[in-house]
Symmetry: C2
Subunit: 500 residues, 2 copies
């Protein structure tokens, strides 16, 4: 069963209405919009300075207002909803309510599969003076692109789901699956409170009971040409190597070559973590990752990506290899180690002749299965400690792991991915790239582990959308065809259930 | 000829008067002291904040006032003086007169040797709230120590010379040598204008014509127990290794192991400059320094210094070696390389997952003869460039030398040093340590090169005087016996001329 033809026709016919829905959503700014009080007036003044600060207390009321607007939309489309209070947080010295999570339910047919949809309605800060060509909180269409904060991250995909619901409701079409919704308003600020909510709702009697799979549309194609399905995310383990020696900073003229300098020790330790090809030198880290089999290599070979794409994305021809597969695997299926910087050393312009007394070298490792922070940390610590011991330094050294997160990889042979592949091919007439992302979206892992079901990342936007940047956009075609993909995906989920 | 006995008797008898002279000098603060205008009132208010800023425009008038006071003292002691205008500087947006240099002349006897005395009358900033037990600009005697800003650096030594003059003038004793004076008021702020002045006055008809040797009393014993004569200073060459790649900072999740990271390259380059024993790894740097001969080693062996002294000075037992001579040579006669820090990388507390796009690693090499910045720079640059080439990185790298200064070493067998040795032994009943300092006093080299005569550093204070720190002090014995050393030194210069 492909998508109902009336669904697809409705989407084509009502593109303008859908764009207006996205425009309404984008206009709900994340800053105070009403001059109803002295406080608001003050905030308007402050806002010039504060706007670039993500998660600012001044914008909380508007974020909550967006949640209420979204809940009303869902209700109007026949969804049973509830606003889940996630408690409070302290931000900039203020005790603030967290924006509520919106849970939704549509359909209870035990013969149908139940798909859980996740999205987030909060956005990154934006100020026209940051370099936006237009008001970031007015959706502007130009050259078939929809510009506005949240257009691609993540209001566009959420509106895509509302479009799907509207097309069915307006034409009294039956949805092929049961739907559950989980829309949060804190994704850009650490998803505070969400993990606990998912755990509660996954328990008996919760809103997520009976969920068969999860679909998250909060990421992007690998390029600007080919749709993608994302089936993996790297984890992370973040470290600091602390080296200290003298009781205070020393003058290099007086003490250079008299004492063990903490910087000499630290730089040496940082230099033996990763080689110039990106290979991690800590024993046991690389070797625990299984090499790719032929079918996996084929994914990379077929992937619509080139060394030129890397150069364009980073603004320089500095890819680690001329082989496309090597570079792609470096991001998607291999661990990576990046040296971020040193705290406590001289970091200003100019030339200071200091011997810093206490320095902390920061680095992190992006993890892939079977690596976890718990498995990797002892290897990292043991290696650095043994290398430091060889140096016979009289300074003090310790390794600190400040935070970590596990990697996630899904089975792309699962019907959830198969349904998405069929939907992409039906709508775009093109096979999707199967991608793994280098970074983390922690909620993905929470859904996978808590619900024990397959999780799919189904991107709507393209690689050049500028999600956290200026002039964020969503191509009109990605919004409209993307809406078709979302709806068709539901039909394919139902079809595959029948085939099973 | 040892010192005239009446000179020594006068010093013993007039210690109180000499201390009062130093008290007067210390009280001439380097901040506005008179509430004569609105401007001064404002400065008094600002002064709470500004005081710790060296070379602040707000204190310029008082520094100039100190120069005039000092000139008046010299005149009163029979010295022919002139105030040399050194021009102006722009400081904190203000065009300011530089404090004048005071040149002095006493004696024109062609049968006598002519000794040039250098000192500086400006001081480091000081604020009681920095941790001073007493008002830094009131000289306070406690436990036979004289506490106050400038007591040891460098008002004490200058007052020592005035004491010598007074003892001779009051008793109508003839000085054994001709004297020339050069006292500046910008030493703590880069000696602006002084090099040019020295070059002008060294030329025919200048105030420094006929100078046979130079004596600078602006440094310290190696310890608290044994007088020292200093015959060497290390030079410096300061470098930045600049590595750049991506057009902007990158997210390590997205781009880790896809691209050549500037930090990976930089840390590797910084790690191969110096080993953990302080040995410089850049080819040609160590090898150009001749090993010490037996007589030099004997100086270090005899030196009153221990590994415990290092631990006490730096606040930790981190000396590079357990062999006293090795550690002393590390500071005095070997080059050293210190890694100061990295500009452009993550240097704050916390954990940021950035791949910095452009980083600059700062390090400097302390130079010893025959090393000069001109000789060392090409070796450093060639080595780093060749090591970078081996890395096959696609990032851009260059080595920058931001500033440099030559080392200085004097001949300790010269009669100038011999006179100082005899003076120290006569007054202190102890042989001096012959020391070389790890840091730079650029004016030393200017005198040596411009006048072509032997320059002696004759310290008055001890290692624990806290010259640039809180609670700066000069031991009463160092002031009084030090005054005797300065005077006796002049007699020994004359005696050695006769012996020659």
């Amino acid at each position: 069963m492909t998508a109902h033809p009336d669904f697809l026709k409705y989407v084509n016919k009502h593109a303008d209405k859908f764009v207006q829905r996205l425009a309404d959503a984008v206009q709900i700014k994340r800053y105070p919009g009403n001059l109803s009080s002295i406080r608001d007036l003050i905030l308007i003044v402050l806002y010039l300075d504060l706007f670039s600060i993500s998660g600012d207390a001044a914008y909380r009321e508007e974020t909550i207002a967006m949640g209420h607007w979204l809940e009303k939309q869902l209700k109007g489309l026949g969804v049973t909803t509830t606003l889940k209070d996630l408690g409070q947080q302290t931000l900039q010295g203020q005790r603030l309510d967290l924006p509520p999570a919106i849970l939704g339910k549509l359909g209870e047919d035990p013969k149908k599969r139940t798909v859980l949809i996740y999205g987030h309605y909060d956005v990154q800060p934006a100020l026209q003076s940051d370099g936006w060509a237009t008001d970031p909180f007015m959706l502007v269409e130009k050259d078939k692109k929809l510009y506005g904060r949240g257009s691609t991250d993540d209001k566009g995909p959420i509106m895509g789901w509302l479009n799907v619901l509207e097309a069915h409701q307006a034409q009294r079409l039956e949805l092929p699956v049961n739907l559950r919704f989980c829309f949060e308003g804190m994704e850009e600020s650490g998803s505070e409170g969400l993990d606990e909510l998912i755990e509660r709702e996954a328990a008996a009697g919760g809103w997520f009971n009976g969920v068969d799979c999860v679909c998250i549309s909060d990421n992007y194609w690998l390029n600007t040409r080919t749709p993608a399905l994302t089936y993996g995310l790297r984890g992370i383990a973040y470290f600091a190597i602390n080296v200290s020696g003298p009781g205070q900073d020393l003058h290099s003229g007086l003490f250079g070559r008299m004492v063990h300098e903490p910087m000499t020790d630290l730089i040496k330790l940082m230099s033996i973590l990763v080689d110039h090809n990106g290979q991690i030198l800590i024993p046991g880290i690389e070797s625990m990752v299984a090499p790719p089999d032929e079918s996996e290599i084929e994914l990379y070979t077929k992937m619509d990506y080139s060394i030129a794409d890397v150069a364009e994305a980073v603004g320089a021809s500095i890819a680690l290899s001329d082989h496309k597969e090597t570079v792609i695997m470096g991001r998607m299926r291999n661990p990576s180690l990046s040296l971020h910087g040193i705290q406590g050393a001289f970091s200003e312009p100019g030339s200071k002749t200091v011997i810093p007394s206490k320095v902390a070298g920061k680095f992190s490792i992006r993890l892939v299965p079977p690596q976890t922070p718990e498995i990797v940390n002892p290897l990292v610590t043991a290696y650095i400690e043994s290398e430091f011991a060889k140096m016979n330094s009289k300074n003090k050294m310790n390794v600190e792991c400040s935070h970590g997160g596990k990697p996630w990889v899904a089975d792309i042979n699962h019907w959830n991915f198969e349904a998405a592949r069929r939907a992409v091919e039906a709508v775009w007439n093109k096979s999707p790239d199967y991608t793994r992302e280098g970074g983390s979206i922690p909620v993905t892992l929470t859904f996978a582990e808590t619900l024990g079901v397959n999780v799919l990342l189904l991107p709507m936007g393209r690689s050049d959308d500028g999600a956290h940047s200026t002039n964020e956009k969503l191509d009109l075609s990605n919004f409209i065809e993307g809406t078709k993909v979302l709806g068709t995906y539901l039909y394919e989920v139902a079809q595959l259930a029948r085939e099973a």
